[in-house]
Symmetry: none
Subunit: 89 residues, 4 copies
């Protein structure tokens, strides 16, 4: 179920990112100002990076957590920390 | 002409990146293994970053080289934009 | 013990990085060519990022692994994957 | 003079970054909590990245603005260097 929740979020985000990437494509085709194109393209990259985090989070929950037998709070905290570190890269 | 060359390269690359992003989308939908999805998504991000470089290269050629004989204010604006792009990486 | 091994590696790496950062400092003071300074400074950043990975690896080993009860191979594989993903960011 | 202004800022920032890196070193030596060490180390990396921006800004001001009236080859070389710096981020 957690898995489903993360999957739904990731799929929604990727559809939005695809729309934004098509926007970059159109900006390129219509010769818009280069720095504007790059900034828009950067936004897509940031959106994809966010999807990485969602997928990693789901992975740690659904695959890794199964093998953990500490208290729920401890496990959640550990996962949160790993994702947080990952996010800052 | 340089501009055209960079534009053609950028457009070709973005079409390929769109295909790869659609692959990530499908991997998500079909519940493939999370780390594989992330690695594929990272490859798309690297491809988009490469497009940034192509667009910047084209920009420096076609806009900056021509306009750096403009007013001091224009020059400052252009330099500020380049630093801004650099900052977001 | 794993902890000690990672700590030793991280400490050694940070001493080397400190030496390289002092080199950047001197390059700045002695007005060396800007792109060379930036490339040297980038190398320091890459070295610090590598230290992050070593520390994360040690953390997953010494803190996280304690709470895992799967087979050793499974746990190692899982940790390797997380670190690998982290590395690519 | 612009150059001096950027140089002063970069040198000040690098001294501060060196102090913060020494803090990371001590955190490692005294076995502080790994995620805290990584977050502190990330802050140093962000500070070094900011220095890159300052140096690039100074470079664009003092070298590029002056030299873009040079030969085509010189211009190409300078543009190539800027794209190269961008690529490494």
């Amino acid at each position: 179920m957690h898995n489903n929740q993360f999957k739904t979020e990731a799929v929604n985000r990727i559809k939005i990112a695809q729309g934004h990437l098509e926007k970059v494509h159109k900006m390129l085709e219509s010769d818009e100002y280069c720095p504007d194109i790059i900034l828009q393209n950067r936004a897509v990259q940031a959106a994809l990076k966010k999807i990485d985090e969602v997928v990693l989070h789901g992975h740690l929950h659904s695959c890794v957590l199964k093998d953990l037998h500490g208290s729920k709070n401890e496990n959640e905290k550990m996962i949160g920390e790993i994702v947080e570190l990952f996010k800052k890269t």
